[in-house]
């Protein structure tokens, strides 16, 4: 036992798992087809695929009951770290188990023990070499912004993220938004080719030291820019800023972190920007996919004493109950509000907001187990069958790309950024 090891620190929590299976299901399903909360369980089928199963395996490793095997590593790799299990578990168990914290610790232990799966190591090598998980050259990161001049001493720093930076289909939308901001006199800054990984994927894969190093680099860049507001187009990044960075002991004071949907909504509400009817979607109905990172995993993390103490003869009590995560305060409303402002009716999928089902794009699953990621996407897309919509909108470039790749029949997937970009204009009174 190593008291400083994340796994050993979480072990008592893991060992309290009652194996009730509630982590496998959304708390109150609306149908049998969409009752599952866990893409990993849907793929693996053995109990090991669930959060409970992973916690038990972690406990087995920590207590010397089991050893690492290829099946263990493949099973762990099927988990998108989407946190739906955490929401479901906490309905009854609140601070007692906290599965997601256990999963973070388990992945860190796997790395500590030198057991990280080959594909994870490859992803990390790419991040180290190029600043993105795809291994795309740094030189290509800012091609979307060619010809746009950014402020060198900005109030607002734009962070684009690895996915959109290299997705040439998104470059036009990014340019439109950046140019509209400039027309409104906002003059944001941008790190260009110096922008690197936010560290979220490194964290999810268990490389916590690397994640911290990436976060430190980014924060140093933010401080150097002088910006007091960071606006990111990446759902992974906003999740990292709000939920992961506070764990790392970094100085985040005085910096406001926003997702682009929050930022644009704020600017529209203050009449700095105007949002007109969406050319293709005005009057139409779409279903909204809540990205895990943007929703439940953006709940701000409060670094505090999270230990439990016993009261009343053995009842576990959190020392800081106000810091327990309950999937609240994620970014659920801003993207919906933008859609509505563009004349689009938003239809809810059965699993929405904090109960959203992960599409499989996150947590390294897409890179490691494409079949698992594909199954998750198909499961998510099938949810459209219960709606009037044939279009699913996501505010995450990663999810939209992944879902779009696996969409069948008449279903289409649209990235919110593409709808917003063409509907956004600077107002005359723009600052």
């Amino acid at each position: 036992m190593n008291a400083n090891s994340p796994l050993d620190q979480r072990l008592a929590f893991m060992d309290r798992c009652t194996r009730c299976s509630q982590c496998k299901f959304v708390p109150v399903p609306k149908s049998r087809e969409h009752a599952s909360a866990c893409p990993s369980m849907d793929y693996v089928e053995y109990h090991a695929g669930s959060a409970s199963g992973q916690l038990i395996m972690a406990s087995g490793i920590a207590h010397g009951e089991i050893s690492y095997t290829p099946s263990l590593l493949e099973t762990v790799s099927a988990c998108t770290m989407c946190g739906a299990c955490d929401t479901a578990c906490k309905i009854n168990f609140a601070e007692l188990v906290e599965p997601l914290e256990g999963l973070y610790a388990f992945r860190a232990r796997i790395v500590e023990d030198g057991q990280s799966p080959k594909r994870h190591r490859e992803v990390m090598d790419k991040i180290a070499a190029t600043g993105n998980s795809q291994g795309q050259p740094r030189a290509g990161r800012a091609t979307w912004a060619a010809g746009i001049s950014f402020d060198s001493a900005p109030k607002v720093l734009l962070h684009v993220g690895s996915v959109l930076s290299y997705d040439t289909n998104k470059h036009a939308s990014l340019r439109l938004i950046a140019e509209t901001l400039q027309k409104a006199g906002l003059c944001p800054g941008y790190l260009g080719e110096d922008e690197g990984s936010c560290g979220m994927l490194a964290w999810d894969l268990g490389y916590h030291h690397m994640a911290r190093s990436l976060a430190q680099t980014f924060m140093a860049q933010v401080r150097a820019s002088g910006a007091k507001t960071v606006v990111t187009f990446s759902s992974s990044a906003i999740s990292a800023y709000r939920s992961i960075y506070p764990r790392m002991g970094l100085d985040l004071s005085g910096i406001r972190f926003l997702h682009f949907t929050e930022y644009l909504l704020e600017l529209v509400e203050t009449s700095t920007l105007a949002l007109g009817a969406a050319p293709t979607y005005d009057g139409k109905t779409v279903a909204f996919h809540d990205t895990c990172k943007l929703g439940r995993l953006t709940e701000p993390y409060q670094e505090t004493d999270r230990a439990l103490q016993k009261e009343m003869g053995g009842i576990y009590v959190s020392r800081t109950p106000q810091a327990i995560h309950f999937s609240q305060n994620g970014i659920y409303e801003a993207p919906r509000a933008l859609l509505r402002l563009m004349g689009i009716t938003v239809e809810e999928l059965e699993r929405n907001r904090q109960y959203s089902y992960c599409c499989g794009a996150q947590g390294g699953v897409k890179e490691t187990l494409p079949a698992a990621a594909k199954m998750a996407a198909r499961n998510r897309l099938d949810e459209l069958n219960e709606t009037e919509s044939s279009t699913m909108v996501s505010a995450c470039g990663n999810c939209a790309h992944h879902l779009g790749k696996h969409a069948r029949d008449a279903f289409t997937v649209v990235d919110l950024i593409d709808i917003v970009a063409t509907s956004l204009t600077a107002t005359k009174g723009g600052k």
């Binding site: 299976s21 049998r32 095997t69 263990l72």
Partner: protein
């Protein structure tokens, strides 16, 4: 099957593996210890949250069949190779653990069949159609299912075929030991048998088909706990409710709530004492005016109405918990009235109020939010597993099945076993003097289950929990109170004459269908017991009831768990 791992566990013979792979496909059979660890996690009484939770016995393999034919083939494979097996559905707590070193765990996860037949008020389900899924589909037709205490993620097939089946809405959803209709069963010999109307190809409508009724034979009250083959599909009863469609959930995690539908009321009646509650109960049941009646111990209502343990403890100290959660208000019913018309609702509500008043009862004041939390809980049984939130360690005394004449006696027994140790400074977690969950079943008998709540990290507390459990059995022998619902395994045989020849009969059933005891479990009768042992065991009752013996047994259980 001869080699052993470094942990001394038996390993899967390569020849058996090949056979199983041929039956299931390689992906659906595993003997990888990591993948099997989730099938060896024992959360039973006295288990400490540590490596202690890993069961001593692990399966030699886990199989994932998708069809009844595959299940039958696995069972036959086990028989051919002298292996045992244990069916496993959702595997709550310790219930799915194997109980012999040569067992294959048959995880029925892939068998999720779920079909609603609304006109017949029933569903046809497989072992991994969970209660939350069944309820969601049933609600689309204005129906619901019975949800047992394990909560929404349990398998209704497992509870209906194999394990008790009690739950808080029993007044109108019966209980799963009475909810099974036709069935499909793989016997311990690997034969596929369909019973009830399904046996005649007439659908799954009735449990009784050609030949004698077999529900009692297959399960009785308690069920065979996985010791009598594998059940792969059943018809199950559904019950009409006064709302059609999806359950709308409001509130934030973890305090989910549901708005009460039209013509629905949730009341909490408090009586001056248990005699008054008993008298009122007879009147309420006689007039058939309550959809659900549930008595939760006050501290458990407190757990339900608070987001976290921290909030519960703080509000207990501050004395700000609502009236139903105050310990002095234990003589109470949470009452759900769900009517279909204004007139019906008026009549039922007025009748309930008149009955409660006539027995000097009153209604607790609750906020709308508290009512909605309790309603949501009653409708879904979502928070019933919350009893594990406080310390992570509970066990349950037994379930009393008896007339409501015995309600005060059940409370008295609960208090006798718990009051000293649930008081501040006692060895159990602080709580109500008794911890009886009580509800009526179909307007007739009373289910009363005393929850023993201990700190699993404290040996003294574990011993107190085990002592309370053993005291319950001893008190039951001394002063009978109904049939003990959790009378299982050796306790049945020790109890002996109190339940007549039931264990001996069940043993005959087990021995007839499973001569070699391949379908292994500890939650059924002990198979193949010599008649002389059967006769002698009840004589040990006074010894087991002897306090010093109980104390020693409690200490052993506190150290080793079970």
């Amino acid at each position: 099957m001869s080699a052993k791992t470094d942990k001394g566990r038996l390993t899967l013979d390569p020849e058996v593996r090949i056979e199983l792979e041929n039956i299931l496909g390689a992906r659906n059979i595993t003997d990888d210890p990591a993948l099997m660890s989730g099938y060896a996690w024992n959360t039973g009484v006295g288990k400490i949250a540590s490596s202690d939770k890993f069961a001593a016995l692990w399966p030699i393999a886990v199989a994932l069949p998708a069809t009844v034919e595959e299940v039958a083939a696995i069972v036959k494979c086990c028989k051919r190779h002298g292996l045992s097996f244990r069916p496993h559905s959702t595997g709550y707590g310790s219930m799915g653990c194997v109980t012999s070193p040569d067992s294959i765990c048959i995880d029925l996860r892939r068998m999720k069949h779920l079909e609603i037949l609304p006109e017949d008020r029933m569903a046809v389900i497989g072992p991994y159609a969970t209660a939350n899924q069944l309820q969601a589909e049933a609600r689309k037709h204005g129906l619901t299912c019975h949800v047992v205490g394990a909560g929404p993620s349990h398998s209704p097939l497992a509870s209906a075929t194999s394990l008790i089946g009690v739950g808080i809405t029993s007044q109108f959803t019966s209980a799963n030991m009475r909810n099974m209709l036709a069935w499909e069963w793989v016997t311990p010999e690997g034969d596929i048998i369909r019973g009830g109307s399904a046996a005649s190809g007439l659908g799954w409508y009735a449990s009784d088909g050609p030949g004698p009724g077999t529900r009692g034979l297959l399960r009785g009250f308690f069920g065979a706990g996985g010791g009598l083959g594998v059940f792969t599909r059943i018809g199950i009863k559904l019950y009409p409710i006064n709302q059609k469609g999806k359950m709308e959930v409001i509130g934030k995690v973890p305090q989910l709530r549901s708005k009460l539908p039209p013509h629905t009321a949730l009341l909490h009646a408090i009586f001056p004492d248990y005699e008054a509650q008993r008298a009122a109960t007879f009147d309420l049941l006689q007039d058939d005016v309550c959809t659900v009646l549930l008595r939760m111990p006050p501290d458990h209502i407190g757990w339900t109405l608070t987001r976290t343990n921290a909030e519960f403890v703080q509000r207990t100290k501050d004395k700000t918990l609502p009236e139903p959660a105050i310990l002095d208000n234990g003589a109470s019913w949470t009452i759900l009235i769900a009517s279909r018309s204004e007139a019906e609702h008026r009549w039922r509500s007025e009748t309930v109020r008149a009955i409660v008043a006539s027995h000097n009862g009153r209604f607790a004041e609750m906020t709308q939010e508290e009512e909605e939390v309790l309603y949501h809980n009653l409708a879904t049984s979502q928070y019933v597993p919350r009893v594990l939130r406080a310390s992570g360690g509970i066990t349950t005394s037994f379930g009393v099945l008896d007339s409501f004449h015995f309600l005060p006696q059940a409370i008295e027994m609960g208090e006798k076993v718990l009051a000293k140790d649930t008081a501040p400074g006692g060895d159990l977690c602080e709580g109500s003097p008794d911890e009886q969950w009580i509800w009526p079943h179909e307007g007739r008998y009373m289910w009363a289950e005393n929850i023993i709540h201990f700190d699993p990290t404290s040996e003294a507390s574990r011993a107190a929990g085990a002592r309370a459990l053993l005291t319950h059995f001893a008190d039951q022998w001394k002063r009978p109170l109904g049939t003990t619902g959790l009378l299982v395994g050796p306790i049945q045989d020790v109890t002996g004459p109190r339940i007549g020849k039931a264990p001996a009969f069940a043993r005959k059933v087990k021995s007839y269908f499973d001569k070699d005891d391949r379908s292994k479990t500890k939650e059924y009768v002990i198979p193949n017991m010599p008649p002389v042992v059967e006769k002698v065991l009840p004589a040990f009752r006074p010894i087991f009831a002897f306090k010093p013996v109980q104390s020693v047994m409690a200490k052993i259980l506190a150290k080793k768990g079970m």
